[in-house]
Symmetry: C2
Subunit: 226 residues, 2 copies
DNA sequence: CGCGCGGAAAATATCGACTTTTCCACGCGG
DNA sequence: CCGCGTGGAAAAGTCGATATTTTCCGCGCG
């Protein structure tokens, strides 16, 4: 029994890993509000584990820019601001442009197929009411870049994705995010990528981000943010 | 006494911070070889502290791409490779170009003065035998970018600097690094930055990196690396 | 009435020991 | 002679407790 341990909770080996994933999910989803104090003891109870895994997980999240460490005063969820949001958007554009171009240039057939598959799964989840949509959405975006032989770059992109999506959740649980025509946008990006039209794909992707960005900026101005 | 705590060892508050800085220095300086196993107990002795700060420091270093975590098998110093080195160089060029341009565009007089000061100190250290040169070299490079209002970007640049300089140490303790005309290059970059000539400054900076990169790649091919 | 000082309460950071997992070498069986 | 399974040692991971630091609140002094 190796992969057959998913009884109630996914149990990836170490308690640290579990705590890391759980906390990241809580922060990204906005269940832990920006600036909120992260008390070790509280989290210890909430996640049913010891203090060491919690501390380690928080350290990891610190380097992901999702948690801030205050010298001898513990941890808190990262603050949000319009400037921070803009920076994330800008960095993401720069880095994903580069990653996407390299991915398209180097991608083989296996990449292409994995990409189509990721897109299909995402579409499927969306049509069926959005259950489990979020992880698949991220999977699709990362699948676009996956063929780039640049581990650090991909890691940065993954981090920035999480930071960015956090704002979407904060803007209102992603309510009617899908109301905009993201479906079509995703489809167009997929098509361009599969056709190896790097310029087109990149332009579409950046437009996708810029548009989502303005959309969110509008929502954020309405009080969800200082 | 805020900045006056450098008696024997820098003693910044927490044991975690101390362990983090010490380990990072060891890895960057190459005293811990790439791929080397990082045994908790060994480090515990070496740094005279408990296991918790060590683990936490290693977690932080993991996110800096200086340490790799192996699921239930502990930690090891990050491996090195030509591909990894190339990626660092490439990313650094992209990100520092952007950061430098924004820094030059936004920098005020205080920034200019801090920059000149950082350069002077670095020069001074180099002339006097290179004592404490490394931290000042990093300080100068970061001072160039400091006026960019982009904390995440600057953090990435700082990380990439460390990753990059690690290769220089591995290539032979930075032996005759200064034999190349870095002094003049630094001076030219400083001048261009102070004169707010973004294009020139950026071009010089990238050339600086590219040149250092080829230089190191040459050294690394000679067996210091697989 | 406001400011600053002290002491109590809480939270963090750190340590030392326990539990679980992994690694390595030895010996048995094919 | 080589592969496989077993057993012991070592290391990682985790837990609970302790000590140190910070924070908060009320009291007295200016």
């Amino acid at each position: 029994m190796d992969q057959f341990v998913s009884k109630d909770e996914a149990a990836p080996g170490s308690a640290t890993q579990r705590a890391y994933l759980a906390l990241r999910a809580l922060i990204v989803a906005g269940e832990i509000r920006p600036g909120e104090k992260l008390k070790i003891d509280g989290l210890r109870q909430r996640l049913a584990t010891g203090a060491s895994p919690i501390r380690e997980a928080l350290s990891l999240l610190t380097s992901d820019n999702l948690v801030e460490r205050i010298d001898q005063r513990g941890f808190r969820a990262a603050e949000v601001s319009a400037a921070n949001f803009q920076e994330i958007l800008r960095l993401r554009s720069t880095l994903e442009d580069q990653a996407l171009r390299e991915s398209i240039a180097r991608g083989d057939q296996a990449w292409e197929e994995a990409l189509v598959l990721a897109h299909h799964r995402m579409q499927r989840a969306q049509e069926q009411g959005g259950d489990g949509f979020e992880p698949l959405h991220k999977a699709f975006h990362m699948a676009l870049l996956a063929a780039a032989a640049a581990p650090i770059l991909l890691k940065f992109c993954s981090q920035l994705y999480d930071l960015n999506i956090r704002y979407r959740f904060l803007a209102g649980r992603g309510r009617d995010y899908q109301s905009r025509d993201v479906t079509e946008e995703h489809g167009a990006i997929l098509a361009a990528a599969v056709d190896r039209q790097a310029d087109t794909a990149s332009a579409l992707l950046l437009a996708h981000y810029t548009r989502t960005g303005s959309y969110l900026a509008g929502l954020l101005d309405d009080g969800a943010l200082g």
